[in-house]
């Protein structure tokens, strides 16, 4: 499943990211890598989300959530 399909409050694990290199590296240094567990704090219908990575909340847009493959844990 894709990240934007994740329900509020669920914990997901990143399987794969298919983003522009620059953006992907940015997320990686912030601690979002393949295998990282993230929690969906809040979400909007259009795909924007607030996610928690390693204790920090991030707001990510649809242009990210649509291209991150996750699985439920």
């Amino acid at each position: 499943m894709k990240l934007y399909e994740g329900q509020k409050g669920s914990t997901l694990q990143v399987v794969h990211m298919d983003l522009p290199l620059q953006l992907e590296r940015r997320l990686e240094v912030l601690g979002m890598l393949e295998g990282t567990k993230i929690t969906v704090v809040n979400r909007k219908k259009k795909g924007a989300m607030i996610i928690k990575i390693r204790g920090t909340r991030f707001a990510v847009g649809q242009n990210i959530t649509e291209y991150v493959e996750v699985k439920e844990v």
Binding site: Q22, L30, L33, K45, G61
Partner: protein, 450 residues
């Protein structure tokens, strides 16, 4: 007094309280300098401690030391240069896991590093505990708890910096790693020397690259860092040391290196931080409300209404006093000039021209001042980031992301800083769109003339 001042570079993630700490040390002794050629700001200040003068440099906040962005490259180059004697890595202790990634990179750079764990007051409030014996053992650098806001630990930090200025590697790194599965003959030695030790596969590559670099560049400093950077496919380092690495770089090792750093960080956190789960639930509740799918927007409008009420009502009240002072000043100046025997033309120029003209514009000052104060408060409280999320849907209708709303919000105050703020947007098209829309946000002055 020593002839050479000790230069201390302050590095850290954005929003870790770096500048607060910097200001706590330097006080009013602060100047802003622009980096030559690049639009990255660094601040310099000086302080005296025990009859020594220290030069403090506050660098822009960064999450990593790769060379993907201009800021990172400039920060890295500055730290690498001989201008910096000691690095103070400022970390937000309440979010240590995220902050340690930069710390590990800093340690790898091979300069003396002191870790300042800032926001200790928040850590204590949340009931978290940090093991200050184990943490320096694992990282091999001094770790000093400070609170820039409450001004605690400042003296100890600078003291440690002064004593640590010549020490690149800590003497005692104790890891307790399982080494049986390692074929690497230096593994034991590595663990004694370096905080961050990678898997055998990576360490073999680092060794190979190191010997190759040393063969071609015998006076290279900190060869291990260069080897790691080349393994990460860092364009800057590769450009400066052009050799044929194609046989070693058979695949993308960058992800692997980042991954292993974070694995090590997880290890450090699990050993050194206690009661992490009990993290502030209260902000989660506030967040829930502020970013509520239905209530989020009305709450935002309500807050903005509050901001404008402050700007116009309180601002106008201040403006009344401002005008009284201006009137009094005009009268005084006219009287003074008349008694001094100045000509009618000159009196008219000063009173009706300069004072009335400049004063007329200055009367907007209270309004603008209050508006920017309110916006700065919203920004510092972290509400602006929530606004970006709340406005994302609406901004999406004109093809922009929620982030583009922040510069526009500034546009209520003045168009010029709003246009400047649009540089936070990475995409050129989005930036242009935002810049072109911003002038249509009515500024406070526009309201006046309406």
């Amino acid at each position: 007094m020593s002839t050479k001042q000790l230069a201390i570079g302050f590095v850290g993630n954005p929003n870790c309280g770096k500048t607060t700490l910097f200001n706590a040390y330097t006080g009013a002794n602060l100047k802003v300098a622009n980096w030559p050629g690049v639009t990255v700001e660094k601040k310099e200040g000086a302080m005296r401690f025990h009859d020594e003068t220290y030069r403090l440099v506050d660098l822009p906040g960064t999450y990593s030391l790769t060379s993907y962005t201009m800021e990172e490259t400039v920060t890295r180059e500055y730290i690498m240069s001989d201008d910096v004697d000691v690095i103070v890595d400022v970390a937000d202790a309440s979010a240590l896991e995220r902050n340690l990634y930069l710390t590990l990179q800093m340690i790898e750079l091979g300069k003396p590093v002191v870790l300042a764990l800032n926001m200790m007051d928040i850590v204590q409030e949340r009931g978290m505990e940090i093991d200050f014996h184990r943490l320096p053992e694992m990282l091999g650098i001094p770790c000093i708890p400070v609170s820039a806001r409450k001004k605690t630990g400042l003296e100890i930090l600078i003291h440690t910096v002064a004593h640590h200025k010549d020490k690149v590697q800590g003497e005692k790194i104790i890891h307790h790693h399982e080494l049986e599965d390692s074929h690497h003959e230096h593994a034991q030695e590595h663990h004694k020397k370096y905080a961050m030790v990678y898997t055998d596969e990576i360490e073999d590559k680092i060794d190979e690259l190191s010997s190759r670099l040393l063969a071609s560049y015998p006076d290279i400093q900190n060869v291990r860092w260069h080897a790691i950077k080349i393994l990460e496919n860092d364009q800057e380092v590769k450009k400066n040391h052009p050799l044929d690495y194609s046989d070693i770089l058979d695949k993308d090792y960058e992800k692997e290196i980042i991954n292993q750093k974070f694995s090590f960080i997880e290890e450090v956190i699990s050993e050194c931080v206690a009661n992490r789960v009990k993290k502030a639930e209260s902000t989660d509740h506030v967040d829930e409300l502020l970013t509520h799918p239905v209530l989020g927007l009305p709450i935002f409008l309500l807050i903005m209404a509050g901001v404008f009420f402050l700007t116009f009502n309180v601002g106008d009240w201040l403006k009344g006093y401002f005008e009284i002072v201006l009137e009094w000043l005009t009268e005084a100046v006219t009287l003074g000039l008349t008694s001094a025997g100045a000509g009618e033309m000159l009196i008219s120029l000063v009173a009706d021209g300069i004072l009335a003209g400049v004063g007329g514009i200055l009367t907007f000052l209270p309004n603008i001042f209050i508006l920017f104060l309110a916006l700065a408060f919203l920004e510092d409280s972290g509400y602006m980031a929530r606004v970006a999320y709340v406005m994302d849907g609406i901004m999406g209708k004109i093809g922009l992301s929620g982030r583009a709303f922040l510069p526009m919000l500034l546009g209520f105050g003045c168009t010029v800083p709003a246009v400047m703020a649009s540089r936070v947007l990475e995409n050129h098209r989005d930036r242009m769109k935002t810049i072109l829309i911003t002038p249509f946000m009515s500024t406070v002055q526009d309201f006046r003339f309406m």
